[in-house]
Each structure stands twice: as C-alpha cells, then as structure tokens.
Amino acid sequence: MAEFRLRVNGQDAVVDVPPATPLLHALRDELGLRGTKESCGRGECGACTVLVDGAPLLSCVLLVDETVGEIRTIEGIAEENLDLREMFADSGAFQCGFCTPGQITRASALLQEDWPKDDKSIDSFVRLAMSGNICRCTGYSGIIDAIIATARRRGKIPGHNR
C-alpha cells in the first residue's frame, strides 16, 4: 500500500492503495465517486473518461501513481454542464445510461476545444471526437445532436439551435 495525494473536483484527497492502481479504482472504491464507470478496464471504450487538467483521459489505464493535476469527474462537472445534460435528455442521447458519464465528460472537454468554422464539417468533427466513447444503445445520433446543440447555445458555432 502507498499513499497518493490527489486533487479531485476541487478538493484534496488522499488514497491508500497498492502501487499501479488505476485511477478509476481509486476514485470509485476509495473516494466513493462511482459516477465514473468501468466497462472494459482496457482503455478501449471511454466509459471511464475523467478530466485531468482539462484533458479527457482514460482512468482505467491511467495509474494513480502518475496522476498529476486537477482531476474532475462527472460528479464535479455535472452542475456546470446542466445545459449539455438537458440536451442529452431531450435528444435521446442515452438509454441505459451506462456510457453517459463518460460521454458527458468527454463532451464537456470537447466543448472547450476549437471547433471548425464551416457548418458542413461539424458533424464529422464531433463524430470523430466522440469515437473513443462507445455507446451500444443509442446509435450515437442523439449524442452528436446534443453536443452540437449545446455548442450552438454556448456560441461556439454560429446558427440557431435546432
């Protein structure tokens, strides 16, 4: 066992876990932050996405030992992304909801990135950006729609909300 200091959702935290524990397990099992999900534990699906200093990373393959920076999980970002979550709800962007925390977390980072200017490439831009987050239920349309609509609302891209 070893002690690791983390900064999670604006608070300091200490976890006592074996070396090379995935950050995901530290968050879920030690800190009780169970909103972040494990679907593969292999870095292949995006369900465990968290933000570290704003960058979306896969907490199932990120070791707690080398996590430096401000960690934000779905619990920490839900409130400020209420608009995004409402759009998800209105667009049919989730069904079983298991992939959803990862999708929202990834999307919240995407909404901070630079977006293409021309309207035609936006759909494929968002689809490529979200391709690390598997969803088996929705066929993705709702997720993509919700993110684009939120981007419009936030003034990231011109045009009306559909």
Binding site: E66, D90, C135
Partner: protein
C-alpha cells in the same frame, strides 16, 4: 392526453446524465465479498475429479463451490430438455463453462484460490462448428430426443398451400446465406450481488436483468428455495438487448456462495469474460428459395435452416422457430415449407438476442426479394409494394394484422432516401438499397406471457408511485408508465415515481423481452390507473358531489368546479394504509394466443409492427471499404407514446444492425474466442455511422395501449439486407455471408472480373520451407502442436507491482531500467499487457515526468520530438507542417488515447495479433514447439501477407509507417552507450525492436529536408480507431514540374515490419509518375514478394488500393501551394 404522445425526457434524466443512477457495480454492501470463477479450458472433456480442499484454506477465502454444492440434477429450466447445470456436471462442453467459484475478501484472493483448485479433465475431440457437428467423427455433446448426433431439435413447418403456391409460380430465386455470431455488448458487464440473510431466510439479489421474474424463478428452483425466498432489488440496468431476458449464468452461483457463507457476495464479469462466456446471437445457415409469378407476386417460400445452438439449448429452438415464423409473417405467399435443424456445437451457447432469429432469416428473404426484382426487372420497392401485407390479413403463420403499415413504410422510405433520383443518377461505386421487416409486440411463449400486472400508490401529498415487476434496460418503459399514469390520474409528470424490479413489492410481470415492454407496461398501467381514478372519483363524489367527475391538476374536479386533492381522496379511502391508497390490477391480453403445438401457427401477438429501411452506400472498389452515406428507417409503430424513445430504439437498432452487416463477428479458433475485446470487435463507433434518420408512419392499432405497437426489435432486422442490397446496387456483387467485410468484397469483385491474383513462390527457394510447414499445418500439424490449453483470459488481472518510479532526470530513468523494471509511457498498451499477463514487471519507470523526454525542438537541420510527447501534442505541434504525420495520428485509436499515448510507447507497442493477445499459448508466448494459430485461424485482417515466418503478426504502429517514410531516426539512450537507429531498421520483427531492456528512445529526429517533402497517409480499417489492415505512407520531394525524388512508399499492416516498396520507389525516382505507371511497378513488386496465408491474399489487392489513395492525395498536395496544405 397531455403526456401520452409527447416527447418527454426520460423520467430519471438528471440522475442518468450525472452519474447518479446506481448500477449493481456501484453498490458497496458492508462485508461484501468478491468472487472469481473457474472456467473450463476445454471445448469438451470429462471431469474426472475436482479438488477444492486447498483453495478453501487459502487466505481470505470464505466459500468455495462446485457442482456438488447444488442439489443432484439441478438444471436451468429454459426450454427443451434441461441440459445445463449451473456448474459443469461431469462434462464440460465449451471453453469458458463454469466449473467452480470462490468467494473471498478480495478479488485477488478469490483468483489465487481459483488457481489452487485442481481439476482433472479427460479431453474429448469436440465439434466446433455446424459442419463438424453434423459430419465429423465426433462424439455427441448431448443425448438428444432426435437420436441424431448433435441435432438438438428438428422442425418442419408447412403453412398455407405450398403446392398451390409452387404451381402458380413462374420463376424462383434462391441462395445460401450465413449469419455470424454477434455479441450483445452491454456496456455494463454483468455484475450480480447476492446476500443470504439467515435471519430472514431470504436471498436478496441485485443484478442487471431485463426480467426479475426469471431471476426469482430460476434462482429459487436451483437453490431449492420458495419463490418468496428470493428477492430481487431495483438497480440500473446497463443494457440488455436480450442478453438479460432470462437468467444469465452467474446469479444462482453467487446466491449459492452467499448462502454458504452468509455474507453478501459480488460477482463482476470482466469485459473479456463477458465476451467469451455470455450467450450470443445464434449463427444461421440458411438455404432459401422464393417462388413468384410473372407479376412478382410471391407464391411460395421454401427453405432449410441450420442453427448453431452452441453447447446448450437455452433458447435455440425458439429462436429457430421465430426465425421461421418471421418468414411466415411477411408478404402474402400461398404457402411456406421450411425445415430447421438446431445443431449442437462445443462453443459458447447462443441465447436471446434482439431480433430473435428473424434478423437472420429476414437477411436472406430480403436479399432474395431484391434478386427477384432484378430478374423481373421490377423496381425493388414496387415489387415489395405489390406484396405488402394489408390490414385484416391473416399471414401464413396465423398472425392477424389489425394494422399493417408496410406499404406506407415503403413509400415513405422511397421518398426520404430520394430513391428515384438516386436510381436515376448512377454514380460509380455508389448504390441504394432497401429492405423490410416485421415483428411482434410481445409473444405468447409460455403461460403468463400474455399477462402483466401493475400497482399504483396514491400518497397523501398527492404524489403517485407506479409499481411494475419488469425492468427497464434503457428502453424507456419507466418513462412511458409515468406518462400514462400522469395523464389518467391528472397529475404532473414530475409527481409520478416508478418502482420496478423489486420482486417482493412489485406485482407480476415477466419482463422486458420479445418487444413486450411497451405493450404490457402500457396496458397494465393504463388499466391500473383507470381503476385508481375510478376509486378516487367515487370517494371524492361522496365529498364534493356533482357529476362528470374528472381528474386534473392533482385533484378530482366536478362539473361545478369543486375539487378535492388526490391525496385527500386517497386518505379517505377505507382501503388506505397510513393514508396511502394502493390499487393493483391485472391485464390479460385478449388477442394473443399460444402457437399450436403441432403446426407452430397462431396469433401469438396482439399487434405487428413493420419497418422499411433504405440506405445509400459507397463502396471503394480499391479497398473493399463500405461507407454508409445516408440511412432512413421508417417504422409503423402505431401511435407512438413517446416519439423520442421510439426514435432512440430505431436508431439504436439500426446501429446494431449496421454492425451486424459490416463488421461484428465473434471469432473462434480451437474452440476459444479470438476477439473478446472492444478493440477486436468491429462494432460501430460514432464516426462509422451516418446520421440515421428515423420516421414513423401507420395507424393507431386498436390492440395496442393508446394505439402503440412495439419497436425494440424490428429496427435491427432490416439493416443487414438493406446494406447488402445497396452494396449489390453499387458494385454488382452480392454478399450472402455476414458480415460484409472488405475481404469478401474484394474477393467477390476479383472473382466476378476473373482476375484472381497468384503469388508464385517457385522462384523463391527461401520460402519453400515456410510454405511446406503451412501446408502441414492444414494437414494436421496444428492439432499436434496444439498441446497446451489456451489461457482463460477471463481470470487474468495484472500481477501486483512494487512501485512506479518517477525519475526527474533522464540518467536516473535509464539507470533504473532492468529486465523486470520497464519504461512506462502513456500506459495504454503496457497496462493492457500487464492485465493479460503478457508481462509481469516488478516496477515501472514513468517517462512522462522526465523533462529531457518531452518537448519538440526545431533546428535548421532537424525536428526532434521527445519520446514522451503524447500523440495529441505531436499532432497539435506538427500537424500543420506535416500533414502525412497528422493524418496518421488522426487514425490512431481515439482522442483520449492520443492524449495519453506517447511517441515511444506507440512505436514500441507489442504486436496486436489477436491470438497472441487473447491467451493463446502461441509460439511467441510459449516458445519452443508451440504453434502459430494465425496460420489456420482467422488471419484475414491483422496478419502479414508478406514475409511472415514463424509468427504471422505485423507491427501495429501507424506512426512507425509514417516515420519510416520520413526517414526518421530513433535517438536511443542506454546504460552503456547511446545510439542512433534509422526507423527503417528499428524493427526486428512484428512489434519487436532493436531496443535492449536497458535502453529507451530519447527522441525521434526528422531531418529538415524530409520534413519538407510532400506526403500523405492512408489506411484501411474496420472501424474508426482500429489498427491498420493495410496502411500506406508516401513521402517524396516533388518539384514544380511534378518530378518525384527521394521517394518513399511504406506499407503498414502487410508485413512483420513497416514494409518499404523499394523497387517501386526506385522506379518512381526522377519521374513524373502517373498512377498507372506506379500501379504497374507496385503490382510487380508485391506479386514478387507476397506470400499470403490462405485467406489474406486480398490484402495485396487492398494494399494497392490504399497506395492509390495516398498517391492521389500526394499528387493533389504537390500542386497545391504550401500554405493551403497547412490549412488542411
């Protein structure tokens, strides 16, 4: 109706979108144990003995169980003879079958104990596919009532007047179709918690299920308990799709373990285990023929179907039956005659899966309908319109159609996809296709499946709770029930809560399967809410008087405008308990009837829903890649209760169906699953799909709740045929064997155009020996070498480690390396290798913290990229200047991985051969005489077609391909000395490098001149983010007149290492190459060097195609001004 028909947000949208829904894996019960399963390493073997005594004494172990802990003869009920015990009983019949289980304080302890269980097996030769089962010299897996070896069931269905149909037909079309084994891939792996409470004498169960009813039924009978002694609790259900329609294969085992130790016990399947051991869609072999008259009216359907049952019955017989019924529900032929055989194979069993057999048969039927249309020169939509079912029809199988919107669906799909203009404008490689389907809304499969109960509690504060015994796996019944209750009871939607799955508090319902959720939840709650409303009105009438009482705004209101709050009325009821009025009612569907035992006919469903899909695809004739450009899905669902939910079910089903059409397939070798991981399973990611456009048409169905019909399953049925028909329209080849992957397309095109490529090796003596060994493999050498069992990846976890070092200086980093202390980059591959126990390092050295390893330096002579630079950072920094690099990085995995993965880690990642990675004890893992499984196994995509030797894997890094083309150099530092190695000699084998274990890459250097060259990267893969099947990087100095110099053409994915087409490079040098000239050079070179395996010769064809793409891009860039390129 205010709520019914409206686009309501899901009832728990806030929790679902903020991570607050509690799935079973999120529960932490005090004193909870974890467990692990011992699974069979054999496809078929007798168990001679099981010794658990040592495991029971291991640290932390609280309970160990195997077959003897269940009552003798305990079997799952499911259907047919009861052939499956919860733990293997004397015989194992597939790799992964449950043999024993351990509950311990931690998962690691449970796993350690599992390894201490001693099982002695006597292997038996096992039939691993339908052909082997029916024709091979294998011992039968079971004794079956058919008395035929490995035939579990035979049926012959003859409906209508088949002879008359034949007599009236003028022509027929037929064909042999095959469908594959598809995984459900619920994003939540199955997690079950059970807690035996000795004080209550009850077993509490939290498990992800679509049907708590069946959990209670099966767990209680297997454990010898009364039904009341097993209590299911409500949890979030992370996807179902049929996987959880019945009990899975762990719930009873977990219950048993908890009963043995009295502690809460949790079983978590890991992803690999979920893929390998849970039930799948049944593969079908369908030989189908349809007969029609000159006008294209279908007269008769004739077929022979073999269903791959897997190792146990489960739902095989009814899936086969439903598949045949699907043929008897569509169109209006006079007769049908179809024979079916359910064939046992020693593979993970099939089970319930969305579409339930009709997905498979409708692929065949709808492909043939298109063939018929072509033969008759009738437009495919017109032909289907002529045959469309009409309201009032009784179909061959006995389905009585009250409403039937097939024709309306066809017309709508035709308009929305732009069928007429698409057909008129023939663009090369582009095609449009259509297919139709029908499905039931629930099915009378067993007693009780025509009934559903519901209860409603009205609280003193006026809020309402609906209690329902089914489960909502994301399909939306909870929302629908709240909408209905809100409308009938006149309360706000937000004032309705819904409780499901609590088996001791929710009334009878069999669960959400067979598309019955909306039909039964809808009717049950409608009936219960109506009864509740009547009672409230009666009470209020006594208080406020008046007439014409109605419920609105949370009150009972009379015609005089007097009102009484619902909560007050409830409290006044003499049935109220503590002020809460509870009403429970039962709905028995009056329209459904069970199928006739002998004929299989019957009106098993109250309503029938239709769907028509149309798609536009583009097929790249160079690479065989299929891209879906547009997709329209029209469904007749009656009157939708919540259009957003209907669209969700439609699009989700289409996505799964496109997966089935274009990539998804579970692959086995020697009975073991080869690809139990997302990364090896070509299911669609967001960028693989177009915007799927859902529409609804049709009339309100009098038999449905509020006119609604089902949607859940129908949407997955048309996509396979829709895509197959569109592909045929595009390139004139018909693929009858799902999935439609690039290899099949290129092989079919080559055959059609009679240009099969040959790769003579007679003039290459160096490969004669290799060729000889390959031939021996096919003749039995593989069986001889396959002496060791495969590893059950399911039970693999990383070995514990001492530490992760975080040096601050490069010298310290290098000094700490040793054979068991390894460098750690982004961890995306290394941690996976640890998980699969491919490596067991004692410690890791984190390289990202070493300042000398990060950063990008530019000098007039070169660009140097620090080894620990992440791919994302590299792309951001150099993407504009080096489009070839940027293009390659953009295709690597996904954005999150690119944020983590480092340059050195990407270059040094191990081979991705799926045999090696998935636990096969191959030559590279076990050494010595161990075989290479790729030689006979599925090597179509990810193995070498050039230069394969003992191992057929390739180097997976796309970065390697590009950096080789850019003449980059690896700057290597080591304990002893530093060295510079050109990328072209960095690899010594597939994913194997010159690096010694006391060396690391410090940086990658690209010369200024190389970085000035023009270039492009192109890649063929199965899904967005997949590894290269074939990739190509081109780099050349192209002067203003178009002359190429310093030409590099590098292929990835075709050879053990990035493969330079050196002869072609030389022939292009100093020329203004046309594609034809280049192609000529390349063909010559590839044909001389290629030595493909049996089924990957197509990769040579695809390689030429991928080079052509990169060549065209390079040409386009060379004539473009430099600043324009940067903007791309």
């Amino acid at each position: 109706m205010k709520h019914v028909g409206a686009r309501h947000r899901p009832i728990d949208w806030d929790q679902r979108s903020s991570g607050k829904v509690v799935y079973s894996g999120d529960l932490a019960l005090p004193g909870m144990l974890d467990c692990a399963m011992l699974r069979s390493p054999h496809s078929h073997a007798r168990i001679l003995s099981i010794d658990t005594s040592q495991a029971a004494m291991m640290p932390g172990v609280k309970a160990v169980a195997c077959v003897t802990d269940f009552a003798p003869g305990a079997r799952y009920i499911h259907e047919g003879e009861r052939d499956r015990a919860p733990f293997a009983d004397q015989v194992v019949r597939f790799i992964g079958q449950e043999v024993a289980a351990v509950a311990a304080d931690t998962r690691a302890q449970a796993q350690a104990a599992i390894r201490a269980i001693k099982v002695v097996y006597e292997p038996i030769d096992a039939p691993l596919n339908v052909d082997e089962s029916l024709g091979g010299p294998y011992q039968s897996l079971h004794e079956r009532p058919t008395h035929e070896p490995n035939v579990s069931r035979r049926v012959l269905r003859e409906w209508g007047d088949f002879a008359a149909g034949l007599a009236s037909s003028a022509l027929s079309v037929g064909g042999k179709f095959r469908t594959q084994r598809q995984a459900h891939v619920c994003m939540e792996t199955l997690i079950t918690i059970a807690h035996w409470r000795e004080d209550e004498k009850r077993l509490h169960v939290w498990t992800s299920t679509q049907a708590p009813y069946f959990i209670v039924k099966e767990v209680s009978q297997l454990l010898g308990l009364e039904k009341e002694q097993v209590v299911c609790h409500e949890v979030g259900v992370g996807g179902g799709f049929g996987a959880k329609s019945k009990i899975c294969d762990v719930e009873a085992i977990v219950g048993l373990l908890s009963r043995k130790c009295g502690r809460p016990v949790r079983m978590r399947l890991v992803r690999e285990e979920e893929f390998e051991t849970t039930k799948t869609r049944h593969p079908f072999h369908i030989n189908l023929k349809i007969h029609a008259d000159r006008d294209g009216l279908l007269q008769a359907i004739e077929g022979d179907i073999k269903v791959d049952n897997g190792a146990f019955n489960h739902s095989g017989a009814s899936v086969m039956g439903a598949g045949i019924k699907g043929l008897g529900m569509m169109y209006r032929p006079q007769g049908l005659k179809v024979a079916g055989a359910l064939v046992d194979t020693a593979i993970t069993p099939g089970g319930q899966y969305r579409g339930y057999g009709t997905t498979q048969t409708s692929f065949a039927l709808e492909s043939l309908v298109d063939e018929l249309a072509e033969k008759l020169k009738i437009d495919p939509i017109e032909l289907r319109l002529r045959n469309a079912n009409q309201p009032g029809d009784v179909t061959l199988v006995g389905a009585r159609l009250r409403t039937a919107g097939l024709a309306a669906c066809l017309r709508k799909a035709r308009d929305e996809i732009g069928w007429i203009s698409e057909k008129a404008s023939r663009k090369p490689g582009r095609g449009v296709g259509v297919a139709a389907a029908v499905h039931t809304s629930g099915s009378f499969t067993e007693p009780g499946s025509n009934r559903s109960d519901a209860a409603i509690d009205v609280y003193p504060d006026g809020h309402v709770r609906v209690r329902f015994g089914g489960a909502d796996a994301g399909t939306g019944q909870r929302t629908i029930m709240a909408q209905i209750a809100a409308d009938i009871l006149g309360v706000a939607f937000e004032r309705v809560e819904v409780l499901t799955m609590e088996s001791d508090r929710t009334p009878f319902d069999m669960g959400s399967w067979s598309s019955r959720g909306t039909h039964f939840a809808g009717h049950a709650v409608r009936v219960c809410a109506t009864e509740t409303a009547d009672r409230l009105k009666a009470i209020a009438a006594g208080q406020i008087g008046g007439s014409d009482l109605r419920l609105a705004d949370g009150c009972v209101v009379n015609d005089a405008g007097l009102s009484m709050p619902l909560g007050d009325a409830a409290r006044l009821s003499n049935e109220a308990v503590e002020g809460v009025l509870s009403v429970e009612t039962s709905y028995v569907d009056p329209h459904m009837e069970p199928a006739d035992k002998v004929t299989g006919r019957g009106n098993v469903s109250a309503s029938y829903n239709f769907g028509v899909h149309a798609a536009i695809v583009e097929v790249d004739r160079r690479t065989g890649a299929v891209k879906v450009i547009d997709y329209v899905a029209v469904h007749d669902v009656g009157q939708p209760i919540n259009p957003t939910l209907v669209e969700g079910q439609t699009i989700g089903g289409v996505a799964m169906g496109i997966g089935l059409a274009l990539g998804e397939e579970l692959i086995h070798e020697q009975g073991k699953m080869v690809n139990p991981a997302y990364i090896n399973y070509a299911m669609p990611r967001a960028a693989d799909l177009p915007r799927i456009r859902p529409y609804t048409v049709g009339d309100s169905d009098p038999n449905g709740p509020f006119g609604a019909k089902a949607i859940g399953e129908c949407s997955i049925n048309p996509p396979a045929a829709t895509i197959a028909n569109a592909v045929y329209d595009a390139i004139g080849v018909r693929i009858k064997d799902l999935p439609i992957t690039p290899d099949k397309i290129l092989d079919a095109l080559a055959e059609k155009e009679s240009r099969i490529r040959r790769f003579p090796i007679w003039n290459r003596p160096s490969r004669w020996w290799i060729e000889l060994v390959r031939r021996f493999y096919g003749m039995g050498l593989l069986k001889i070498l396959h002496t060791r069992n495969t590893i059950a990846v399911a039970t693999v976890d990383p070995a514990p480690m001492e530490s992760v070092l975080r040096p601050q200086k490069l010298t310290d980093a290098v000094a700490s390396l040793s054979p068991d202390i390894l460098p750690l980059g982004g961890g995306t591959d290394l941690n996976l290798q640890r998980r699969m126990r491919m490596i067991e390092p004692r410690a890791l050295v984190a390289m990202k913290t070493v300042p000398e390893l990060s950063g990008i330096t530019r000098t007039p002579e070169y660009i140097e990229v620090g080894a620990a630079t992440t791919l994302a950072k590299l792309q951001r920094a150099l993407g504009a200047d080096l489009p070839v690099l940027s293009e390659a990085i953009a295709t690597i995995a996904n954005p999150q991985v690119r944020e983590m993965a480092t340059v050195a880690g990407n270059l040094a990642q191990a081979k991705r051969c799926w045999f090696y990675r998935s636990g096969f004890n191959c030559y590279k893992r076990a050494g010595g005489l161990a075989p290479c499984y790729a030689i006979e196994g599925d090597h179509r995509f990810y193995h070498a077609a050039i230069d394969g030797h003992r191992c057929q894997a390739t180097t997976p890094s796309d970065l390697a391909t590009v950096l080789t083309a850019l003449d980059a150099e690896a700057m290597i530092v080591g304990k002893i000395d530093d060295r510079i190695v050109p990328m072209s000699s960095f690899y010594t084998g597939p994913g194997e490098t010159v690096l010694r274990n006391d060396e690391i890459i410090r940086a990658i250097r690209i010369s200024a001149s190389a970085s000035q060259r023009t270039g492009a990267f192109s890649k063929l893969r199965l899904w967005e983010g997949d590894f290269a099947i074939v990739s190509c990087a081109i780099s050349a100095s192209i002067d203003s007149s178009g002359v190429w110099r310093d030409v590099r053409i590098v292929l990835g994915g075709v050879a053990p290492i990035p493969w330079r087409a050196r002869a072609s490079e030389a022939r292009l040098e100093g020329r203004k190459p046309s594609w034809n000239y280049t192609r000529g050079a390349l063909e010559l070179e590839l044909e001389a060097h290629a030595h493909p395996l049996k089924r990957n010769g197509w990769k040579i064809e695809a390689a030429i195609g991928v080079v052509e793409q990169a060549f065209a891009l390079t040409q386009a860039r060379s004539s473009a001004p430099r600043n324009l390129m940067a903007a791309e």
